[in-house]
């Protein structure tokens, strides 16, 4: 096992992102994994969605992660709360003593990134530890024959993901 993947922190933003990131990890020899979902807080202002609602959403996301990695990997999941998502991810990485943070690019138009903040970019530029950006391999590595609905859904934005992945690295 490469030292890089000994203790992997896996930030997951939504179920599709979780599936893409888990797929990307396939074939890599990975030690312990901590999947973390950050619930963005208003920092003194009302949140954009109910915290209880976001916690339910996090459970959905973790279900995807567990389905993909649960069997084979030493897997933990954690919900973290913070006003600054990248900063919160790094705090969790510190606590977990992560050897790397693994993400796949989420793509999205410039507008979407402007509105939501580009977490991936901040992770790469503000990092104090290795951040591994894995390409979203979706249908290809899995073998097209077993492509699930999820993969189908991902097909549309695959080219977009690849594109933005290129521009970010």
């Amino acid at each position: 096992m490469s030292e890089l993947f000994e203790r992997v922190l896996l930030p997951v933003a939504d179920p599709d992102d979780a599936a893409a990131t888990c797929r990307a990890l396939d074939g890599h020899d990975v030690g312990a994994v901590l999947a973390v979902h950050v619930i963005e807080k208003g920092g003194g202002a009302v949140d954009k969605a109910s915290v209880e609602q976001r916690e339910e959403y996090a459970a959905e996301i973790f279900e995807v992660v567990t389905d993909h990695l649960g069997e084979a990997t030493d897997l933990e999941t954690r919900i973290a709360y913070g006003a600054d998502v990248p900063e919160t991810i790094f705090e969790v990485a510190d606590e977990f003593d992560a050897t790397s943070v693994v993400i796949t690019p989420r793509g999205g138009s410039r507008w979407v990134r402007l509105l939501t903040g580009d977490v991936a970019l901040s992770l790469v530029t503000e990092t104090d530890r290795p951040v591994v950006v894995l390409p979203d391999v979706s249908g290809v590595a899995d073998g097209g024959a077993t492509a699930s609905d999820e993969d189908d859904a991902a097909t549309d934005d695959r080219s977009e993901r690849a594109e933005s992945g290129g521009s970010q690295t």
Partner: protein, 745 residues
């Protein structure tokens, strides 16, 4: 509470206060005072103070409920929790639509302010439709604030705090300088009680915001302390501001001034400010009004998404409304629907109508909220531990109920009519949609049904009639002996499958009385392994039958009580359990278990004496009566599931002809017309035992008389169970009969 969860609560006392003040202040002071003074004269001040007092009663009740249950959804959640889903449905719809109506009203005000700032006014006509510029701006504003919440810019939340502080500052200066100029001689004459009350009804829309604080209660730091401060504090603060502003507006300018400017279509508070303190104050108030109406609408849209979430979670609405946006992490569907409603209301309504409907719907919620408090205090469930308690209980909530409902009378008729229409629609919604989906019962009906002996009969049947039936039919199987696991699960799965429900497998571990339950949970090690094996097998057996299954391990001091508790906890509609000398581990254990079965049954019970489960030839002895209904139903379900041959047996007295007719009628009534019918005479027990020789399974209704009496008296049922060679299923319906009735039949 863990540190992580603490981080989830990041609203300080000021932030919580500004949600309330920000939602309220926009409406009242910047839009309505002109109309209020015109209608009520001097007593316009009294209208606003009266509105504040009514709001204060409810604010205290909401605070107590909020500190006891700091959950997302606020008023809806408390009403649903305390009064059950029928009232929950009313409160939820009223709260959601009330906020949408109020938001439309705020946007009207917003449109007025924008046109006033740019000093433009116009009406556009397109065919038969004519729209004022103000209305167009209101529509644009509604789209804008919906979009902001759809995308979820957290900056707006912080901006809200700044806006509120700014507003309070502007109004403080305005009133401080204004009161210096006040002269009682300027006061317009009072127009008496009627107009004052009508005004109160209209301006009550200025007091809707405090309850939105409770809808984000889960995010407030130290809710026990900060929630009541914010809720009650915001009502006191805005009441004071409203009163002072009204005094300035009626006493510091000459009589008739307000009416004059209002008639000219100008915004009264701005004109008064300009006249008293010059153009700068006029400008500040104009700007303030713009911010205030915007912040009110923004906060209302945000709050309404919390109500949608809570309603969806309880299945009062489709949970699909709660989907979170992948990128924005917002409840985008709920927000989009709310935005669409606001647009519809804006296009269809006018300013006063929208304000009045918003008020009426909120008054309905406030009334229910106070009733919810009375119910919680009366039923006093163990988990109800509010940090803040209403003073002068029960006077305050009772006054809250009376004043809230009474004020609805003074709201204009068309608005009241529409509001009651919405309430009626919510009731129909519950009956037609939510009742079969929601599972939460509500403290009130639990309280009534638990005391069905003491409570008046109409109350009991009413509570029973409106109780939710949850949709998902849940069959719980308490497992003890691995040997019977498969047969019990097969039986349960068959029933669950036929009813489109699911199976809940529970392993109830009996812990000696002297062992503390939490201690037992700690050294769960080997229990865990045993449980897991048993539940894993149950899971795979149920999955083989094609039903959904969930599994739980339950620790309990008393085996049978544990089953009752678990049935309650997991919302079971039916319990399928084994019974026999060896079914609960120790000999004789089950006998005493059945002894305990003499109280009321929380749900239907199927008790199986397992001698191998083979449903190919089912015998159903019947004597009619309610418990044979369940037996018949089970036989019918099993017959359908396993393609079984069902035989009905009736042991008649002397008159044979009647017996045939009876059994035929009974079979028809129970959808068992296809079953073979057999009428015997003579000794009941012998007849059943004879008939059972051809059968593989006997299904018996268990409680024509008290089960206990039968046991003690060694009556028919029990002997049959012991004497036949095949498996026997005893079916007993859910009932709430008292212990005495149960014991002696």
């Amino acid at each position: 509470m863990s540190g992580e969860e603490d981080l989830a609560k990041d609203l300080g006392p000021l932030a919580a206060l500004t949600i309330g003040v920000g939602t309220m202040i926009g409406a009242g002071i910047f839009v309505l005072p002109g109309t209020a003074i015109e209608t009520a004269g001097t007593l316009a001040v009294a209208s606003f103070v009266l509105g504040g007092v009514i709001a204060l009663f409810t604010a205290m009740s909401a605070s107590e409920l909020g500190t006891a249950m700091p959950r997302s959804g606020g008023a809806y959640y408390y009403v649903n929790h305390a009064l059950g889903p029928l009232f929950g449905s009313i409160a939820g719809w009223a709260n959601w639509l009330g906020l949408a109506f109020a938001s439309a009203f705020y946007m009207f005000g917003f449109g007025d302010y924008v046109t006033a700032i740019f000093a433009v006014e116009a009406t556009y006509t397109l065919g038969p439709v004519s729209v004022t510029l103000a209305k167009l701006i209101a529509i644009a504003g509604a789209i804008f604030f919906t979009a902001i919440n759809y995308v979820g810019a957290k900056e707006t939340g912080r901006l809200q705090n700044v806006i509120v502080v700014l507003l309070v500052a502007i109004l403080a200066v305005f009133t401080l300088l204004g009161t210096l100029r006040a002269d009682p001689a300027n006061l317009p004459p009072s127009n008496g009680f009627g107009p004052t009350m009508l005004t109160t009804g209209l301006i009550f829309v200025s007091y809707l915001g405090f309850v939105q604080i409770t809808s984000v209660a889960e995010e407030i730091k130290e809710p026990g302390k900060n929630l009541p401060r914010a809720v009650i504090g915001s009502v006191l603060l805005v009441t004071t501001i409203y009163a002072l502003v009204l005094i300035v507006m009626s006493a510091a300018v000459p009589q008739g001034f307000v009416a004059e400017v209002s008639a000219a279509g100008d915004i009264a508070v701005v004109e008064v400010g300009e006249r008293l303190q010059g153009a700068i104050m006029g400008g500040a108030l104009l700007f303030g009004g713009l911010l205030a109406t915007a912040s009110s609408a923004n906060a209302s849209i945000l709050a309404s998404s919390r109500i949608n979430f809570a309603m969806g979670r309880d299945s009062i609405l489709s949970p699909q409304i709660n989907e979170i946006h992948d990128r924005f992490a917002t409840p985008y569907r709920a927000i989009a629907i709310t935005g669409a409603l606001i647009l519809v209301f804006l296009v269809a309504g006018n300013l006063e109508l929208l304000a009045s409907i918003g008020s009426a719907l909120h008054l309905i919620i406030y009334g229910l909220l106070n009733i919810a408090l009375l119910v919680m205090r009366t039923a006093d469930p163990d988990e109800y531990e509010p940090d803040y308690r209403v003073p002068l209980y029960p006077l305050v909530p009772i006054l809250g109920v009376i004043t809230s409902f009474a004020l609805i009378y003074y709201i204009r008729d068309d608005a009241t009519l529409i509001s009651f229409g919405i309430v009626g629609a919510a009731v129909l919604w519950y009956a037609g949609y939510a009742r079969t989906r929601t599972t939460k019962q509500g403290i009130l009906s639990e309280y009534i049904l638990d005391r069905s002996d003491e409570m008046p009969e109409p109350a009991v049947s009413a509570a029973d009639a409106v109780a939710p039936d949850g949709g998902d039919y849940r069959v719980m199987v308490p497992l003890a002996n691995p040997e019977h696991e498969k047969d019990l699960i097969t039986l349960a799965s068959a029933v669950a499958k036929q009813r489109g429900g699911s199976v809940v497998a529970t392993h109830i571990v009996t812990v000696p009385d002297q062992t503390n339950l939490s201690r037992a949970a700690e050294d769960l090690g080997d229990i865990d392994a045993e449980s897991e094996r048993l539940l894993d097998r149950a899971r795979s057996d149920a999955e083989t039958s094609g039903v959904d299954v969930e599994a739980h391990t339950v620790l309990s001091h008393q085996g049978f009580e544990g089953i009752f508790d678990a049935a309650h906890t997991y919302d079971a509609d039916m319990v399928v359990m084994g019974w026999g000398p060896d079914s609960h581990g120790s000999p004789g254990r089950a006998e005493s278990a059945i002894d305990e079965m003499t109280g009321s049954l929380p749900c239907d019970f199927l008790v199986m004496r397992d001698r191998g489960f083979d449903p190919s030839r089912i015998l159903v002895p019947t004597a009619g009566g309610p418990d044979s209904d369940l037996g018949a139903e089970v036989a019918r379900l099993l017959g359908r599931e396993f393609d079984a041959e069902v035989t009905l047996l009736y042991v008649a007295g002397r008159d044979d002809e009647d017996a045939e007719a009876f059994l035929e009628g009974w079979a028809d009534d129970h959808d068992l017309a296809d079953a073979e019918r057999r009428v015997e005479t003579g000794d009941v027990e012998t007849a059943i035992e004879d008939a059972a020789r051809d059968a593989t399974l006997v299904v018996l209704g268990a409680s024509e008389q008290g089960l206990f009496q039968r046991l003690v008296g060694g009556s028919v049922v029990m002997d049959v169970v012991d004497d036949v060679d095949c498996s026997v299923v005893l079916a007993e319906k859910k009932h709430d009969r008292s212990l005495r009735e149960r014991l002696f039949g």
